[in-house]
Symmetry: C2
Subunit: 455 residues, 2 copies
């Protein structure tokens, strides 16, 4: 990171300086030396006004590079850079980039602009941007590039190499897909294999017929899992009739894996997937409030639990200080279990067959945590209160109960949600900590009420 | 997922049946039809005894496939399958797989076995397993495969193709690295480019000289970032003198990205990276307890804060029911901010230049959250208590204070940790919720003490 980030910081300083003095040719020169990914980073870190100025300067001179950087920036930020241009200009510029990136950008434009741009785009032969947008979001169809390199099965290795040499505008090629006369996917040949055989060998003879593919409606998470499991560099996408319609390359799969990880972290924390460091403040506020309101409701539910026990609290006011300890520890133990279980599900390590084993294991851990933490907590209570034995034992018992419940709920709720085909990460801390609050208060204050004469 | 998982479930049933009836040839036949990744999944889901039985059956007949599945299983589970074999057998079996996978497996063996195996492995020419283990964990050196395909710069394209045809035992090749006479990395040629030029063209004329590479000591997270940013299929690894020593392929980078995501989720939840769904219960317990003990300490700190206010609680006992609402909401708001900021840092979206902007934004969101949630909370208090005005206002004020602190701490603590080169995710919920508990209790009970005559 260090070296690259330093180079980008230096570049940003130069860009700002060149913009100030209006040295357009030097600015274009500087920007043109960058890799699109670095250029995207520079755009991302420039203040808004200068970001637009730098982009506008570059796009007039080198539309392709500017648009490649926009692709790397991602659809939301990319669409923002394009937002002030006319639909005609945008439609023209989109031709410079891959159809899948173009489709994602169009999807992020404002409603008016999106409609206008879509009306202007004339579908490319062999699948264009408009077709991609007909597939559901987060499916293989939306993610794929329709410009896939494929040849009929009776073409020879030599002919294939010639065809490859004249192929343009296709995604990075490392596999050659083989199709029959009706474009059904029938095999795959690696580029390396092509080099190893005599030029007159037909593809049919050297192709692998067991091809890992994805159907257009396959969820992107499963696409990523296949590419990752089978160590593929690309996966062909087929329609319902097994006709080849596109290809998804590993670089796009990496983006999916990162997005899915972000989503998992966000869900666990009760944050919307569209939120981020540079989401406008008002937008972030609007997106985070519903979760907090939900949490407020659950917090008031636990408050009513406490309110039932005001008599015992008035008698033994130290209970008010200790009850959040029981509730909080339960919440943290639940968060630990939740992280392990949710991650286990999404990494494919927790499946139907070992769910029962996982529940037993987590229950054991929860009970063990409760015993140890309860004992340590009780000891602390005894030390601080001059050996109020009953108070310590009640704290310990409540902790054992709460941590066992935390472990069981932290395992069962995500597994249950998965079985109901709901994202397990939705069992976010909000719900689980609500439960551990209620159980914590109820067990601790309930036991205190029962044994109040010993307190 | 569905189709694949179903197929694996069916296979597992067959494996168990064939093991029961002792139909070894059929079992080997069945297992040999699987892709190593699917075989690994089957092993992972089989109960322990049957996992060992199936592995032992296969390893005698098809050591390579069995070991490829072990590589796919990952080092910990893989080492477990090998644990009962002699060092000699393990050393022999390790020759069937890539050096980087072998190194990771050895590292996960028990201490005795590791030493014995290492003593038996005779270093392969051109970099072997023992050399890999000399690099730090989580660096490019540890991750790379030393068998990298490279040619001198005056070799022609035609000669390169011939060399490629006879190359064996190298990682999947898609780039041809070009080195000078002292093995310094000087360029790269894509396989496709090789096909496009006349056979007598020297590599020097067609190679790209600006090569993205990683030095042996580069952190694996930065390796992954480079491969992902520049859409590479592999990145060459060089030593301090820029000599080519290995290559890291994109499939290994995908594993790193997944591991880093798991680590981030775990850190935020206070779980050790070595914990998981199938970690033995006693081990999970041992690994989770330190975090909970730490949390117990912080919880007792907030308990002492509450204990300072027992007078006011005795006078107005409803405070005991409402104080966890203030603390809890602050904790949830802090978790939201933390998720966005920590993820922003690790995705490279939050850098030095926009840290101040992020702080301003989060402070605004925190203040906004506090105002809205405070007002809703106060309204609920008024509704439930028959319009105890002061109590509602005190709750609102405490929420505004606590949520603003939550936002500022949730932003500054991870940014500060990053500046100190500590993993920002260490600012886990444990610490942040400890802070929001203390501030929540302090502000709410403090204000209640000041304005007690109105309550």
């Amino acid at each position: 990171m260090a070296a690259t980030q330093r180079r980008i910081d230096v570049t940003i300083e130069s860009v700002r300086r060149l913009l100030r003095v209006g040295a357009t040719p030097n600015l274009v020169n500087l920007l043109q030396k960058l890799h699109p990914a670095d250029l995207a980073q520079v755009f991302a870190e420039l203040p808004e006004r200068e970001r637009h100025a730098a982009f506008n300067t570059l796009v007039e001179r080198n539309g392709r590079l500017a648009m490649e950087a926009v692709s790397e920036l991602g659809p939301e930020k990319g669409a923002e850079l394009l937002a002030l241009r006319s639909a005609e200009e945008i439609a023209r510029l989109l031709q410079e980039i891959e159809s899948d990136d173009a489709a994602a950008l169009i999807e992020s434009l404002s409603d008016d602009l999106r409609v206008a741009v879509l009306a202007l785009i004339h579908p490319k032969p062999g699948g264009g941007v408009s077709e991609l947008l007909e597939y559901e979001e987060r499916t293989a169809g939306r993610l794929m590039n329709p410009n896939v390199f494929a040849l009929p099965e009776d073409v020879t290795a030599g002919e294939a190499i010639t065809a490859l040499q004249s192929a343009r505008d296709v995604e990075m090629v490392f596999y050659l897909y083989v199709v029959d006369e009706r474009r059904h996917l029938v095999g795959v040949v690696s580029l390396r294999r092509l080099l190893l055989v005599p030029p007159d060998t037909p593809l049919k003879r050297i192709m692998t017929t067991e091809v890992y593919s994805a159907s257009v409606d396959l969820d992107q998470e499963e696409v990523a899992r296949r590419v990752a499991s089978y160590n593929l560099l690309a996966i062909p996408v087929v329609d319902q009739e097994n006709k080849l319609v596109g290809v998804i390359t590993v670089d796009d799969v990496i983006d999916v894996i990162k997005d899915e990880a972000t989503e998992e972290i966000y869900r666990l924390a009760g944050v919307s997937i569209d939120d981020g460091v540079d989401t406008p403040p008002a937008e972030s506020l609007r997106r985070r409030l519903p979760w907090l309101v939900l949490n407020l409701v659950t917090a008031f539910v636990s408050a009513t639990v406490v309110a039932r026990f005001t008599d015992v609290i008035e008698q033994v006011v130290i209970l008010a200080a200790l009850m959040p300890v029981v509730a909080g520890l339960g919440g943290n133990a639940a968060t630990q279990t939740l992280a392990v279980v949710v991650r286990g599900i999404s990494m494919g390590e927790l499946t139907g067959t070992n769910a029962r084993q996982a529940l037993l294991k987590e229950s054991f851990v929860g009970l063990g945590n409760g015993l140890v933490i309860g004992l340590v907590g009780a000891t602390a209570v005894w030390a601080f209160t001059g050996f109020q034995w009953a108070l310590g034992f009640i704290l310990m018992a409540a902790m054992i109960i709460n941590m066992s419940v935390a472990a069981i709920a932290g395992t069962l709720i995500p597994i249950g949600l998965r079985a109901m085909k709901v994202d397990p990460a939705l069992a976010s801390s909000v719900f689980i900590t609500a439960l551990t609050d209620v159980i914590g208060f109820l067990s601790f204050l309930g036991l205190a009420t029962v044994f109040v004469r010993y307190l």
